[in-house]
């Protein structure tokens, strides 16, 4: 019983596909890929299909064999110069999902990224304005013009920062700013 299980486990190794009739890793994998022909190792040994520039040849063909594809395959065994352009393209599409030009084409996603980013920033600005209008209390009286002028007069009278700061800019003989 345990031996039978060990035997089943042994099937799932990288056996060169040419000499032995290749079966899928498990019947579950076979349900995923259907009747597609497994043609290579792929990039991780699983019979999957991914369009990748660094692994140009996936492990399975893209389309399942249909009567049209099978007749094309027969024609493929002959001289390729006899194939028309449409037949060549059909053969390509039977094995591959997208061409390199298609899957490398720019998506323009950067525009939606920047656009959505700016939208969220504008919403933040509106929230700041809403906070000012509805949430913050009014400014205290010390922010009024007359109060601020009185504060400045007091700063000058106290000679605050006399070396390099504000009192150094005041001319105490003339009682005015230095020219």
């Amino acid at each position: 019983m345990a031996g039978k299980l060990m035997l089943f486990g042994k099937i799932a190794h990288n056996i060169p596909g040419s000499s032995i009739q290749r079966c899928a890793m498990s019947s579950y994998v076979r349900t995923l890929i259907g009747k597609r022909e497994i043609v290579g190792f792929g990039f991780n040994g699983e019979p999957n299909y991914v369009d990748r520039t660094d692994f140009p040849l996936p492990a399975i063909r893209w389309k399942e064999p249909s009567p049209d594809v099978l007749t094309l395959r027969e024609k493929e065994k002959g001289d390729w110069k006899l194939l028309s352009i449409e037949e060549k393209k059909a053969l390509y599409r039977a094995s591959f999902c997208q061409t390199f030009a298609e899957f490398k084409a720019p998506t323009g996603e950067w525009k939606s990224v920047i656009g959505l980013g700016l939208v969220f920033i504008s919403v933040a600005f509106w929230i700041f304005y809403g906070m000012k209008v509805f949430v913050y209390s009014p400014l205290p009286d010390s922010f009024k013009k007359e109060n601020r002028e009185a504060q400045l007069r007091r700063i000058i009278d106290l000679q605050m920062n006399p070396v390099e700061g504000i009192a150094s800019k005041w001319d105490y003989e003339k009682d005015d700013w230095k020219k």
């Binding site: 035997l7 140009p56 040849l57 006899l82 053969l91 030009a101 998506t107």
Partner: protein, 151 residues
Amino acid sequence: MFRTAIRAQSLFKSALTVAKPNIASSSRLMSKHSTETDEQFDARYENYFNRKDIDGWEIRQGINDLWGHDLVPEPKILDAALKACRRVNDFALAVRILEAVKDKCGSKVDEIYPYIIQEIRPTLNELGISTPEELGYDKPELALQSVFEMH
């Protein structure tokens, strides 16, 4: 119970010991610098693709392996690979290899790719392989909805 398993294992082992040329034998060195010259590298891949009994699986294995290196393959390696595609009767494979060569050229595609095509043009004409440009596949033809956009 275990005897059947051992017999099955020995069946698999005899199948596994089929003499199969290992394309990646010299890339198992532990240090970064290999002692293989450029000509030896080219010759190794060319001999691999020139084997008469190569099959589709091994062509794909060899190409995926070669593409892992930071280089554009020499025209003579591509000649051997395209002839191997002819032997296994796989036309789409040949076109895919040409597309992949163009991608491998990187930013210097305008200098390298026309040169490569010019060098392998005799093989292309002899086998009747169309370049992706002749099939109209240098520009996108069909659109595919991205799986990330499906809601």
